[in-house]
């Protein structure tokens, strides 16, 4: 007896001719082995088709430049945060260059000098007082 073989999978996929389908149905009615094989193939096909569908990672669109309004970090204009940070850095460098050598000064004295410098320059740097532990007198 000739069994169904690959005709069985093709039938499940609707990829047989009418003649093939008729032959298959007639054979299935009298062949338990082919009925079992048909069930196995159907189960395997169902499992494959039930695999979860994954979304394409957004990073692919970003990398390919397909996402609008996404500018690589290096090309972004300075935001106010970036500008403020730059201003602060410039101020610190300038203050350090013009301030007297703090060697020998206490932390409190250094702090007071920076506060005074800030007032003179009208800088935007928020001054955080530095107080020696247990000091102040």
């Amino acid at each position: 007896m000739i069994h169904l073989g690959e005709l069985a999978s093709a039938y499940l996929d609707g990829e047989t001719t009418q003649q093939e389908a008729a032959k298959l149905v007639a054979h299935l009615g009298s062949c338990q082995a082919c009925q079992r094989e048909m069930e196995d193939l159907h189960a395997a096909r169902s499992l494959l088709r039930s695999l979860p569908v994954l979304e394409m990672p957004e990073s692919i669109r970003v990398d390919l430049g397909l996402v609008p309004n996404v500018v690589p970090l290096a090309r972004r204009p300075l935001t106010w945060v970036g500008a403020a940070t730059a201003a602060v850095m410039i101020f610190i460098v300038a203050a350090t260059a013009t301030a007297p050598d703090p060697v020998g000064l206490s932390l409190r004295e250094v702090s007071i000098q920076y506060e005074q410098q800030t007032l003179i320059d009208g800088g935007v740097l928020p001054v955080v007082g530095v107080v020696q532990a247990g000091g102040g007198q």
């Binding site: 196995d40 193939l41 189960a43 088709r49 394409m56 990073s59 397909l66």
Partner: protein, 167 residues
């Protein structure tokens, strides 16, 4: 779209990107490789779209996809099978049903993926194109440059091996 042909590369990415990524993921079992492959395919589509002559767009696209995958295999000189990573990329799952269902589905999905990776490449490719991507036998035949009868045989044998591996 005109006659099933996307007008632009962006359209291809939008309409076929997910399928390309899933094809790559199911063939490699690895999210990083799948991402690289999908990206390469889209870049190659961008270059090739200008020279595309109307015909079977699906066949053309999947032939490119397949060639990118095989080129990568040759470049890395590896068998077109990689082990399933322990930490599958589950963050990209599209649907999120109840937690129990998700867990059961993931476990089952892992088993199916492992069985898939154990198939010889030709069989794996055929069942993925048929059951994951959803191509017809004719489209698969064009994509893999093989007769329809060969495709039919590969799908059948691939499913039989899957069933044996999962029982």
């Amino acid at each position: 779209m005109t006659d099933g042909v996307p007008l632009s590369w962006e359209d291809v990415a939008k309409t076929h990107g997910r399928k390309i990524y899933n094809f790559a993921y199911r063939l490699t079992g690895n999210p990083d490789d799948a991402k690289d492959l999908a990206q390469d395919v889209l870049l190659r589509v961008e270059r090739g779209l200008a020279n595309y002559t109307p015909g079977s767009f699906e066949g053309w696209l999947w032939r490119i996809t397949r060639n990118v995958f095989l080129d990568d295999v040759r470049r890395k000189k590896r068998r077109p099978t990689t082990a399933l990573p322990d930490d599958l990329d589950r963050t990209n799952l599209i649907s999120t049903p109840a937690p129990d269902e998700v867990l059961a589905s993931i476990r089952l999905g892992d088993d199916v993926q492992k069985a898939l990776l154990g198939l010889p490449y030709d069989f794996r490719e055929a069942v993925v194109l048929c059951d994951v991507v959803g191509l017809s036998y004719d489209e698969i035949a064009r994509a893999v440059a093989a007769p329809v009868g060969t495709v039919r045989s590969r799908i059948h044998r691939g499913r039989k091996l899957m069933r044996e591996a999962l029982t």
